[in-house]
C-alpha cells in the first residue's frame, strides 16, 4: 500500500454530497410563494407578512421575471403611495395603485435543486439576497430558501451532532 491518500485518487465531481452540505432541494421550503406583476402592493405586503419573507418572487407564465423586496413596499408607504387604515376609521383606506411591476427588481436569484447548501448561501451572500428560488433543471420553480430554512438546517445539524 502506498501513502497516497484516497482523496487524491478521486474525482471530486463524482462524489455524493456530504451530510453536512446536502443538496438544497432537501432543505428548501417545499412551496413557492409568488405574485404576478399585476399584484397590488398591499397584497404583496400580506404575502410577505403571512409567509415571513423579505423578498417575493414575481412569476409570469410560471417563469421568474423578478422579485419585490419588503423595503420597496415600505418605501411606498413612506412616500404615501400606500395608506394604512387607522384604528379609529370605520372605512377601509383607498386601494393602492402600486403594483409589483412598479417595484420589480430584475434578476431573482435562481439556484438548482441539486446545488449544495453552501453554494447557495454563498450566492445569497454574494448577491445580498434573502431569498433563493430553487428550480428544477427544466426551470420549473420548486421551492425557496430563506434565512429560516438555513437556520432550521443549521439547528438540526447541530442537534444531530449533539445526539
Amino acid at each position: 500500500m502506498t501513502s497516497t491518500p484516497v482523496s487524491a485518487s478521486l474525482d471530486p465531481d463524482r462524489l455524493a454530497p456530504e451530510a453536512d452540505d446536502p443538496e438544497v432541494g432537501t432543505v428548501m421550503r417545499d412551496e413557492v410563494v409568488f405574485c404576478l406583476p399585476s399584484t397590488p402592493a398591499d397584497a404583496i405586503a400580506k404575502l410577505l407578512a403571512d409567509n415571513i419573507l423579505s423578498e417575493l418572487v414575481v412569476l409570469v407564465d410560471r417563469r421568474p421575471v423578478g422579485y419585490v423586496a419588503k423595503e420597496d413596499v415600505i418605501g411606498h408607504l413612506v412616500d404615501g403611495d400606500i395608506v394604512v387604515a387607522g384604528s379609529d376609521f370605520a372605512v377601509r383606506p383607498p386601494s393602492t395603485s402600486v403594483q409589483a411591476r412598479n417595484m420589480l427588481r430584475p434578476s431573482p436569484l435562481l439556484v438548482d435543486e441539486h446545488q449544495r447548501v453552501s453554494e447557495v448561501v454563498a450566492l445569497m451572500a454574494q448577491h445580498e439576497r434573502r431569498l433563493a428560488v430553487v428550480t428544477h433543471e427544466d426551470e420549473t420553480v420548486v421551492g425557496m430558501i430563506t434565512p429560516r430554512e438555513l437556520a432550521d438546517f443549521t439547528l438540526a445539524r447541530r442537534q444531530a451532532v449533539r445526539g
Binding site: T2, T4, A8, S9, L10, D11, P12, R14, L15, A16, E18, E23, E31, V32, F34, C35, L36, T39, A41, D42, A45, K46, A49, D50, I52, S54, L59, V60, R62, V65, K70, E71, I74, L77, V78, I82, V83, S87, R92, P93, P106, S107, P108, L109, V111, E119, V121, A125, Q126, H127, R130, E137, D138, E139, T140, V141, V142, G143, R148, T154
Partner: protein
C-alpha cells in the same frame, strides 16, 4: 391615521453585543421575523435579525452580534406608522424602538415600551387586503403537477423542445417541419440526436406503463436532422432590427453558441471569443469523430455563424500577458458572458503522474480532434485509462482505433455503477476493451529510463452510493487492508478523472467548488458579467449547456433593458392542429438505431447507423402525443358524464351544478363550461376538468362520447424568426469549425 401604538409589540428577547451568532441562533429563529434587541446594561444598542446569518453562515460561532447588528431608531408611540417606517428606512434599520414618556415634570423621560419591525409594518399594510385573488401559493414539486398540458418529456428537457410535435410530424412524414420545430430551441440537433443524455425519455409517459419502454425520442430527432442535411436545407434566421448594444461571449461551446445565436437573432451585436482554432467547444474538441457526423456539426455551426456573429478564434481571455483581460471586455461591451466550460483534464496527484507518457483525457481527445496522434502514444502498445465515465470510454475507444494493442479501463465503481453509458461500454468491449473495477489508482510506475511501465491500483471494499444522486459516498471508499496492489503493464496512461475550470482572472467570482459563481440565470453579482454552462454547474451534458445558453441570453436581454414580459418584435402565430390517434402503436416495441458491426469499428467511422423512414415512423407513432388537449364542443356536450366514467386514468371530472358527483382527478384545467337550460327548470349546467398529469391521450373518452363532442387538438405558438431554405452558397468564408 394609524399610530405606532396600534402595531407595536412588547420588547422581546435580548442579547449582548459580544454574543456569537451561533449562540443566539435558536432564539433568533424562534423570534423571527422580529429581531432581537442588542442590549448592554440598560442601553439598547441596536437589533439583530435572522437575515444576518446569510453573510456569516460558515462562521456563526466566530461572528459576534456587534459585527452584524443594525441600528434601532427610537420613535414615540404616538407617531404614525409612516413616520416609524421612514425612520427605519432612513437608518437602514430592521426595527425601531417605541418609546413612551414616563415620570413627573422633573423626572420626565422617554422609556422603551415596545418595538416595531418591518414585519409589523407589512402586517399593517396587509390589513388593507380584501381581495384574496392575488394571494397565490403555488405548490412546489413538479410531480404534484400544474395540470397544464405541458408534456412530461418537454417538462424534463432543459431546452424545452416541443417533442410531441416534432415526433408527430415524423409520424406524418413531415420531416422538414419536424426539423424546423426542433431548431426552434435546439441549435445542435445532429449532436443531440446522437449524444444527448435524453432526460425526456426518462419521463416519457409511454414508459410509465408497466412493460412499456419510452419512445426513442433522441433517435427520432437524429432522423429528422439526417433528412434535412441530406436534402441540403438551411435555417434562415430573421434578425431583428439592431438594438445598438454589444455583447461579448467568451467560449464558443454549446452554451456560448446558443446564447450568441439567441442574442444575435434579437438584434444584438455579438462578438464570440474562442481560444481554440475552431468553434464548438467540447463538441469539436472533446468528442471523438466516431460518435457523430462532423459534416453535420459543421453545417449547424455554419448556420449559427452566418447570422453575423463576429468570431475571434485563438483569442484567450485570461491572466496571461498575451491574453485579453476581463476588465477590458467589461469596459468595451454592454454585457459579457463567460461560458468557458471545463476544458482542462484533471490528472490525479499520485506518484508517477508527472511522467511524459501520462496525460489527461481532455488533452488526448483534443489532439485527436485535430487529426493528430498524441505525443508518446504507443501504437501497438498498452494503454491504461483511469476513470469510468463517458470521457473515459471515448478515450478508450479512441486508443483502440489509434492502434493500441491492449486498452484497459480501470475504475473504482463496480461495472454496473459506472457512470459511462451502457451502450458505449458494450461497444467498446466488443472491440477489445478490458475493464477492471473496484480498485483505486495508487501510482504510475516507471522503468529505468523514466518511461511509464505499469500502473498500480489498490483493491477497495464495497462502495456505497447516495440513493438520491446515485453518486459515490466518499466515506465508503476504503482500501482492503493488507491486500496486494493490482498492477497492469502500460506504456501510456490517460487520466479521465474529471475536469478543471480555469478561472479567467480575479474579477470573475468563484464558488467553493472552484467553479465560477453565478445563479441559474448566469448573474454573478459583478455588473455586466454573466457566467453559465459547465464552468458554473460542473461537468454536465450538452443539452444542459444549451439550456444555460438560452437562460443567460434571456438574463442579458433583461439586463439590457428589454421588457421580457412583452413579446417584443417577434410575431407569434397560434397554430391549432388535429392530432393523430396513435393507439395502434401498442403492437410496436421500442428499438434503437443499429451500430456498425464490430469488425468495422476499428477506425473513426461513425458507429451509430441512421434509421430508415419506416423505422422512424414506427417509433414516432409510439408517442402518446401528450400535447394533445381535449376539445369539447360546448354547444353539443350534455354533461352526461360518460367520458368521466370510462376514463381509465381517472383524469376527467364532469361537474354538474346541483349534483353530488365526486371530483377525484385533481385536475384544474377547465376544458368545457356549458349549460342546457336553467337547472331549476330541469336543465343542466356544469363544467369539465382534466388532469393532464394523468391523461395518456388514449381517446377512450372520444370513443364513448354519445354526442361526439370530443376531439383532440394541439395548440402551439410559432414565432417568425426562422424559415427553412435551401442551403445557400456562402459568400463569406466562415471559420473552420468541426475539423482541424
Amino acid at each position: 391615521m394609524a399610530e405606532l401604538a396600534t402595531i407595536a409589540s412588547p420588547l422581546g428577547a435580548e442579547c449582548d453585543p459580544d454574543d456569537m451568532l451561533g449562540d443566539i441562533l435558536e432564539v433568533l429563529r424562534i423570534q423571527d421575523p422580529v429581531p432581537l434587541l442588542v442590549v448592554r446594561g440598560d442601553e439598547v444598542l441596536g437589533t439583530v435579525g435572522l437575515e444576518s446569518i446569510v453573510s456569516s453562515f460558515d462562521m456563526l460561532d466566530a461572528t459576534s452580534v456587534r459585527d452584524v447588528m443594525r441600528p434601532a431608531p427610537r420613535i414615540d408611540l404616538g407617531e404614525r406608522i409612516e413616520v416609524g417606517a421612514e425612520a427605519m428606512r432612513d437608518s437602514s434599520a430592521e426595527a425601531a424602538i417605541i418609546t413612551a414618556v414616563e415620570g413627573g415634570i422633573f423626572s420626565k423621560r422617554s422609556e422603551p415600551v415596545g418595538m416595531i419591525s418591518a414585519a409589523h409594518v407589512l402586517g399593517a399594510i396587509a390589513k388593507n387586503v380584501v381581495d384574496k385573488a392575488p394571494m397565490k401559493i403555488m405548490s412546489g414539486h413538479r410531480d404534484l403537477g400544474f395540470n397544464v398540458p405541458i408534456t412530461p418529456c418537454q417538462r424534463n428537457c432543459p431546452i424545452r423542445q416541443d417533442i410531441a410535435t416534432y415526433i408527430d410530424y415524423v409520424s406524418q412524414g413531415r420531416y422538414v417541419d419536424s426539423w424546423s420545430v426542433i431548431h426552434e430551441t435546439n441549435p445542435f440537433p445532429s449532436m443531440l440526436g446522437r449524444l444527448c443524455n435524453h432526460p425526456c425519455e426518462t419521463d416519457c409517459k409511454r414508459g410509465w406503463d408497466p412493460g412499456e419502454d419510452p419512445v426513442t425520442i433522441r433517435s427520432i430527432k437524429r432522423f429528422s436532422t439526417d433528412f434535412a442535411f441530406q436534402q441540403g436545407l438551411w435555417i434562415d434566421y430573421k434578425i431583428a432590427p439592431a438594438k445598438g448594444k454589444r455583447v461579448a461571449v467568451v467560449g464558443a461551446g454549446p452554451a456560448g453558441l446558443t446564447c450568441a445565436l439567441d442574442l444575435r437573432v434579437q438584434g444584438y451585436e455579438v462578438v464570440l471569443y474562442e481560444r481554440e482554432a475552431k468553434v464548438g467547444g467540447l463538441l469539436s474538441t472533446s468528442i471523438p469523430p466516431f460518435r457523430f457526423d462532423h459534416r453535420q456539426l459543421q453545417w449547424e455551426l455554419d448556420m449559427i455563424m452566418s447570422t453575423g456573429i463576429d468570431v475571434r478564434l485563438n483569442s484567450n481571455v485570461g491572466p496571461g500577458p498575451d491574453d485579453i483581460k476581463t476588465q477590458d471586455l467589461l469596459d468595451e461591451y454592454d454585457a459579457v458572458f463567460f461560458s468557458i466550460g471545463m476544458m482542462k483534464g484533471r490528472i490525479l496527484p499520485i506518484p508517477g503522474s508527472d511522467l511524459p507518457e501520462v496525460t489527461d483525457a481532455m488533452t488526448f481527445l483534443r489532439t485527436v480532434s485535430y487529426d493528430k496522434i498524441p505525443e508518446h502514444f504507443p501504437i501497438g502498445g498498452s494503454v491504461v485509462v483511469v476513470g469510468g465515465g463517458a470521457v473515459a470510454t471515448d478515450a478508450c475507444q479512441s486508443s483502440i482505433k489509434l492502434g493500441a494493442k491492449d486498452v484497459w479501463m480501470v475504475a473504482i465503481e463496480p461495472e454496473d455503477r459506472l457512470p459511462a453509458f451502457g451502450n458505449e461500454l458494450h461497444e467498446a468491449k466488443e472491440i477489445g476493451l478490458h475493464i477492471k473495477c473496484g480498485v483505486i489508482v495508487k501510482q504510475v510506475d516507471a522503468d529505468e529510463h523514466g518511461n511509464v511501465k505499469a500502473v498500480s491500483f489498490a483493491p477497495l471494499k464495497d462502495l456505497d452510493f447516495d440513493p438520491l444522486s446515485g453518486k459515490l459516498i466518499f466515506s465508503s471508499v476504503k482500501e482492503v487492508e493488507n491486500a496486494p496492489l493490482w498492477t497492469v503493464q502500460a506504456d501510456y496512461c490517460i487520466f479521465a478523472s474529471g475536469q478543471i475550470m480555469e478561472r479567467p482572472d480575479e474579477l470573475v467570482p468563484v464558488s467553493q467548488r472552484g467553479l465560477l459563481s453565478a445563479d441559474r440565470g448566469g448573474h454573478t453579482g459583478v455588473p455586466k458579467l454573466f457566467c453559465g454552462g459547465d464552468c458554473v454547474q460542473g461537468p454536465s451534458f450538452i443539452v444542459d449547456a444549451a439550456g444555460w445558453g438560452h437562460r443567460v441570453a434571456r438574463s442579458i436581454r433583461e439586463f439590457l433593458g428589454e421588457d421580457m414580459q412583452a413579446a417584443g418584435d417577434r410575431i407569434y402565430q397560434t397554430v391549432v392542429e388535429r392530432t393523430d390517434d396513435h393507439r395502434q402503436s401498442e403492437v410496436f416495441a421500442r428499438t434503437e438505431p443499429g451500430i456498425l458491426e464490430a469488425s468495422k469499428r476499428y477506425d473513426m467511422t461513425e458507429v451509430e447507423q441512421s434509421w430508415s423512414d419506416r423505422e422512424a415512423i414506427v417509433q414516432s407513432i409510439r408517442c402518446f402525443q401528450c400535447d394533445s388537449v381535449h376539445h369539447y364542443d360546448q354547444t353539443v356536450c350534455v354533461l352526461c358524464g360518460a367520458c368521466d366514467d370510462v376514463c381509465p386514468e381517472k383524469a376527467i371530472d364532469v361537474v354538474v351544478f346541483g349534483e353530488d358527483r365526486e371530483r377525484s382527478s385533481g385536475g384544474e384545467t377547465r376544458v368545457c363550461a356549458t349549460s342546457g337550460g336553467d337547472p331549476e327548470a330541469g336543465g343542466y349546467e356544469g363544467e369539465i376538468f382534466i388532469n393532464y398529469d394523468r391523461c395518456t391521450n388514449c381517446r377512450i373518452c372520444e370513443d364513448h362520447c354519445p354526442v361526439n363532442c370530443i376531439t383532440f387538438e394541439r395548440v402551439r405558438f410559432v414565432d417568425d424568426t426562422m424559415r427553412v431554405v435551401e442551403r445557400p452558397d456562402l459568400r463569406v468564408e466562415l471559420p473552420l469549425v468541426a475539423v482541424g
